[in-house]
Subunit: 241 residues, 2 copies
DNA sequence: GTAAAGGCTGACGTAACGTAAGAGTCAACT
DNA sequence: AGTTGACTCTTACGTTACGTCAGCCTTTAC
């Protein structure tokens, strides 16, 4: 196979293949007289390995070591890489917290009205709350919240039934058929009391974990349910947009 | 003030100041005949601004725009930046999940024994659990867990008292004096039943949020307590190492 | 035979500095 | 004045993983 074909198959660019060749990371099995690179099936497998480690955040240099040294301790590398990723995540969290704070301060009036609206609640501990509300407008949250609480009796029972069904499948992957079916019911239900775009639906899911009030209520049906629902809603939204 | 002084005050390198000068991001107020950069107090304030935005993950180019254009919509920039950070975090989470999975598979035997040890529990949903255990050896977790449950009556009551005290201050910042004092009691208590290095203490805190069993138990004393304890323990460990 | 499509090798650009290298400046001490 | 040590300056390459031309050759289809 020649470069373009490999590129198309693997999803990387031709330049990337050239680059990996230069680095000695992936040398084509053959080269024609004209200098064309010809890749073998084995080369393809190697490339997959490379892309796998690349997706884990390893540098090309590291990948080269890992793959060229069969005796290399991959497990150790994975563990330390995980450590690194975790540090990065911590840093990102710090940045997000700070940016939340800044946005909050800069909002002046808005913060005031929001505080009034939710007086009695203290969200200052949760930096993601503001974010989730912001991302798709908090009007939707408030509306939904209000409507949901307005409905008593029958609707309430129906809602609880869906929650229970969701709780049953919450240990399955969010992208499993069962999970998606159950979350689909949730979407349907919500749309009986309002209109939700996929985007709003996904945003609502974010709220479930971002806002303690939601989390607490939802998790009464099962530990971790809110989290599961967020994932499932995200998946659902992405499938149906 | 000359470069070195500014560097010392602000914590950046001399090279960085040179760099910012080149970019036109921070031009020193004066230059001596010999070409030495001389910074004013105002320059210092500018630098602080720069470092602030840098800490939020903005590129130098963006920072230049933000600071040079007084009419620039900073709020908008902050919001979109937050969005970006959030995406990055998602990507990192994906990577961590994948790496967890890989490590788990690669562990073969270890996974088996671990599964046996915790049969009945299903941790497959929580990719961070494995991680927290790994980072400082899961022997410590198991030991602590066992010992804590062995002690009944008096010790148990003492423990609960500390939990309650922690719950009371859980809305304060983790680095506040009250929080640190309370978490200090926790550290003392733990050391009456075992020996904990600061590192192990911090790791234990990670477990509190990583392992659902811990989170559930702890949060009975107050929503978000586990999370607060993790932060406080981290802070405590860093102060006392 | 010719043109389109694909391939190849340089080589510069990117972000934010780190790290010398070679050389001039300043203040203090002898 | 001379020297020395501490600073400072500019210049410029190294880093990461390719993207993006540019100029030129090969293969393939009509």
């Amino acid at each position: 196979m020649k470069v373009k074909e490999v590129a198309a198959l693997s999803g990387v660019s031709v330049r990337t293949l050239h680059h990996y060749d230069e680095l000695g990371l992936l040398k084509p099995a053959e080269t024609t007289e004209a200098g064309y690179r010809v890749y073998s099936d084995e080369n393809l497998a190697e490339l997959q390995q490379i892309l796998f480690y690349r997706a884990l955040g390893f540098s090309l240099k590291q990948i080269k070591e890992i793959l060229s040294n069969p005796s290399f301790n991959r497990l150790e590398a994975l563990v330390s890489q995980r450590q690194m990723l975790h540090q990065k995540r911590s840093q990102l969290d710090d940045m997000i917290r700070t940016i939340e704070q800044t946005i909050k301060e800069g909002k002046g009036e808005v913060t005031m009205t929001r505080e009034e609206r939710f007086k009695g609640f203290d969200f200052s501990e949760n930096p993601y709350e503001l974010e989730a509300r912001d991302q798709w407008g908090d009007g939707v949250v408030d509306e939904t919240n209000k409507k949901l609480q307005q409905f008593g009796g029958e609707q309430q029972e129906k809602m609880n039934a869906i929650y229970r069904r969701l709780a049953e499948v919450r240990h399955l992957p969010a992208n499993s058929e069962e999970a998606q079916k159950a979350i689909g019911e949730w979407y349907q239900f919500l749309n009986t009391i309002g209109t939700y775009s996929m985007e709003a639906f996904e945003g609502l899911g974010e709220m479930y974990v971002a806002d303690e009030r939601f989390t607490t209520n939802i998790d009464q049906f099962g530990q971790g349910l809110a989290n599961f629902m967020r994932d499932a809603m995200k998946e659902y939204a992405q499938r149906n947009s």
